[in-house]
Amino acid sequence: MTEMVYGTLPQRDGEPILPRWWRTVDKTTMICVFILFGIGLLLGLAASPPLAERNDLDAFFYVRRQALFGALALVAMVLTSMMSPRLVRRLGVIGFLVALVAMALLPFFGTDFGKGAVRWYSLGFGSFQPSEFLKPGFIIVAAWLLAASQEINAPPGRGYSLAITMVVVGLLAIQPDFGQAVLILFAWGVMYFVSGASISLLLGLAGGTLVLGTVAYRTSEHFAKRIDGYLSGEIDPRTQLGYATNAIREGGFFGVGVGEGQVKWSLPDAHTDFIIAVAAEEYGLVLVLFIIALFVIITVRSLMRLMRERDPFIRLAGTGLACIFAIQALINTGVAVRLLPAKGMTLPFVSYGGSSLIAGGITVGMLLAFTRSRPQGEIGDILLRRRY
């Protein structure tokens, strides 16, 4: 009777958004990301004043920018992680298309900032690198296609996703940005692997990559120089790698002390690609191992949570995102210790860079959205006693 007169109380189905988010999100990973960002700021305090000095700016100009972009990135991460997988997928596809168009138009409107590769749009107050934003979108699209192909009477999603991969890789290669191209290939490879690629095909792909690498080595001087530098056993102490290696040695286990490092004065990329060398010199092995441990925790936890996931799209997209995040960290640190050939790659959340930070925030936000605990049909298993 009361309801008939006054109408029903507004009722929300299910839990309110924030508490549910807090209950289901992977808090450990999120805290690790916050710590990583804090370390990035701390290292930025050490690594970016020389750059600011070279550019005639206030000593902590880049630190403030890093803090600003970092705050934006963390907000983007939290907001993204609140979305439902379906919403993430929709936005991801739209984002992918926008970034793809932006990247295709780079040769006409982009700028190279004098670095020899057209990767950026200059926006006056800063720059924008579409390839950073393309990566998470690409993973969503590719994962969707790969997952769709697992249905009965499904479209040939594998073929489609491979075609898209090749288009993206082609666009990256003309910039040229082989680092990002390798990342995209790697992300697709990982998702394909998890979606159930046959082992013989994977071996074939590995062979193909080897052939492609050889061709690139023969034809691209830029590429060949990097590889030669890697293969030659000794380090010229005047190269970036030489400086980085010496910085790690100087640092020892506990570092030379805050602000005492020298490497940041000689390395042009101390605040981006070689931030780990600055960390090693000033704070020693301890901090480096701590950073690596954070990345391991994020990666492994995410993969573990994805193992329980039953939705193939979520599983694949999550895998791609986690792996692209981890492989960037692995390549960045691997280059600094000369385990890998020199390749410009930022350390997610730690290196300076607006586009890379915000795109990193979106990537991890998506990952968090996918790794939230949700019902996986375990009860159905028990009730229906399904056969395997």
Binding site: I152, G196, P237, R238, A280, L285, I292, M307, L330, R386
Partner: protein, 594 residues
């Protein structure tokens, strides 16, 4: 669409018999198969994700271990200076046309410290502060006592300082070989040479890179090891350059000018023999670019090449040359010079009234704007523009300076008939003094185009023809008369038969439109010797004021011309020109012999 076969055929057949819908059975069947497939995929994915996770852990652990190994090993840098590694960054010398050094390298040393190896840090800090008074003893000691294993103390030190540091005798103080760029002539030809600075830097060597001028333009060339250190030979003549700089600096002071520039060019080869821009700087200690004010007021600014100015009446020479060449006039044609000439709101007038008519020669000699403008009307915009393009006045010069490529002359967007008339006497078009030098050289050398160059040439350029030989001869005679009886009478230098044309242009305001009433750019474009020209000399003074009279005089005839004449008097003998004195008396001397 490929239909999957109906698997439970038996059930479907029986269902049909009972009249039920078999689709439901089929759907259920597909659902079950789908679920089965998904479970299989999930199990496979679980395994593969585990593999991935393990791979990443292994990768990160490897990196961590490698970090640990590196951190535990000893740093290799810096090695002892005694290894004497050869400096690879050999940079070739730059020499003038006669092989005299303009830029070379000096082997010097840098000083650095390795605090862990130091014996007596207090004493070392004290002694260093004594040798280098600008170092602070306390600060040094603090750095020595910190945990640092390496620190730079000085980038460049002199041999005396090196000996003194050596005498401290501390094994923790070490020297690293350095090569530095040295310009032994100081400010001489500063704008041409530009300057160099250190690029990448290590303990044993530092790279030298050019930052401006020919050092930048020929950076790769100078550093090319394949050339074996062969010097870069410029067209400049060191002694002429020195004389020109001194005369111009004196003239600038005497005429109270803010700045000045001069270009001396060989009319046949296009070689720039001297190029001066004042104020200048010392390339050994190149100042940083200015943070405030106009860049064109900085000493770094090369006025002879980078500065584009309205060079005023000096352009009349070019207009008249074209008119004669096109057959529109001869040097004796009479031209209407009644004024003022009204064109819309615009009025063209002369400096003073020259009467109703002047011959073409006198139009130049007296510098009549009215006469020139009327001749330009006959030429027309199209032909004028084509002629100036052929002379290279509308494009950047091809001179070998890093700054030159971007210096585009300023011309009106809309080349109207009024523009044609003003451009005829050098207003509404702004070019650099080097542009003007090349154009004059092309007109007087017999009529073939020359392009300015800073590299030594052996042969005349013999470019495409711009005016006929006859026109060129006529212009030589007209230019000579400007000096003999015209606006440039102070330009006479006995024995060198100077010819030339003056130009006085009001300076445009930096902001807003319009021109200053009391600020001018005065220019003298001269050729010598006028009957067989060998060199073109352009002298430009910025805001000159000759104050010996009652009123300050600013016209080129009173300012730029005497400076140019003095310069010719000084440099002509250095250039190997013999003065030809017309000896009227010689005939009366009878040589006898016994």
């Amino acid at each position: 669409m490929i239909r999957t076969p109906l698997r439970p055929l038996a059930r479907i057949l029986s269902a049909r018999q009972r009249g039920e819908n078999p689709d439901a059975i089929e759907r259920e069947n597909i659902r079950l198969r789908h679920e089965q497939m998904r479970d299989a995929a999930r199990q496979r994915a679980e395994g593969r994700l585990l593999v991935l996770g393990a791979l990443f852990v292994v990768g990160f652990v490897t990196v961590g271990l490698r970090m640990a190994v590196l951190a535990a090993s000893e740093p290799t840098e810096p090695r002892a200076a005694a290894t004497g590694a050869a400096i690879l960054a050999q940079r070739a010398d730059i020499v003038d046309r006669n092989g005299r050094i303009l830029a070379t390298n000096l082997v010097t040393n840098s000083l650095y410290a390795q605090p862990p190896n130091m014996i007596d840090k207090e004493r070392a800090a004290r002694e260093l502060a004594r040798i280098f008074p600008d170092l602070d003893e306390k600060e040094l000691l603090e750095k020595f006592n910190s945990k640092r294993k390496f620190l730079w103390i000085r980038r460049k030190i002199s041999p005396e300082q090196q000996q003194q540091v050596h005498d401290i005798g501390d094994p923790g103080l070490l020297f690293g070989p350095r090569e530095m760029r040295l310009y032994p002539n100081g400010r001489l030809a500063a704008h041409v040479l530009g300057g160099a600075s250190f690029g990448r830097e290590g303990v044993n060597a530092a790279e030298i890179v050019g930052v401006a001028g020919v050092e930048k333009e020929f950076d790769d060339f100078l550093r090319d090891p394949a050339r074996g250190g062969e010097p870069l030979r410029l067209s400049l003549d060191l002694s002429v350059q020195a004389a020109a700089e001194r005369v111009l600096a004196g003239g600038m002071k005497l005429m109270n000018a803010k700045a000045a520039a001069s270009v001396l060019m060989d009319v046949e080869t296009g070689e720039v023999i001297s190029m001066v821009s004042l104020p200048d700087f010392d390339p050994n200690n190149r100042p940083p670019p200015p943070r405030s004010g106009l860049p064109s007021d900085s000493p770094l600014f090369n006025r002879a090449v980078q500065g584009v100015y309205e060079l005023g009446s000096t352009f009349k020479t070019l207009t008249i040359a074209q008119a004669i060449d096109e057959g529109l006039v001869t040097p004796d044609t009479m031209v209407d010079t009644t004024g003022p000439l009204r064109w819309g709101k615009f009025r063209i007038k002369d400096f003073k009234d020259y009467g109703p008519q002047l011959s073409v020669t006198d139009v130049v000699v007296k510098s009549s704007n009215l006469g020139t403008a009327r001749i330009a009307q006959q030429i027309g915009a199209e032909r004028q523009r084509a002629f100036l393009t052929r002379l290279g006045l509308l494009q950047p010069t091809t001179v070998e300076l890093a700054e030159a490529d971007s210096v585009k002359p300023l011309v009106p967007d809309n080349w109207s008939e009024l523009s044609t008339m003003t451009i005829a006497y050098g207003h509404g078009i702004a070019v650099s003094p080097l542009h003007l030098a090349a154009a004059y050289a092309s007109v007087v050398n017999g009529g073939t185009l020359v392009r300015p160059t800073l590299l030594k040439r052996d042969r005349a350029q013999k470019g495409p023809r711009v005016v006929s030989r006859e026109t060129s001869l006529a212009m030589r005679s007209i230019l000579r008369q400007v000096v003999v009886r015209g606006t440039a009478r102070f330009g006479e230098v006995e024995g060198y038969r100077v010819g030339g044309k003056t130009g006085t242009a009001d300076k445009p305001k930096e902001r807003g439109g319009g021109y200053y009433e009391d600020k001018v750019i005065s220019t003298f474009a001269s050729v010598f010797p006028a009957d067989n020209p060998r060199y073109v000399l352009i002298v430009t003074l910025d805001e000159p004021e000759e104050t010996s009279g009652i009123k300050p005089r600013r016209t080129a005839g009173w300012t730029a011309v005497p400076v140019a004449a003095e310069m010719i008097r000084r440099v002509a003998p250095l250039l190997g020109l013999r003065p030809e004195i017309e000896m009227a008396e010689v005939d009366r001397v009878t040589l006898t012999s016994n």
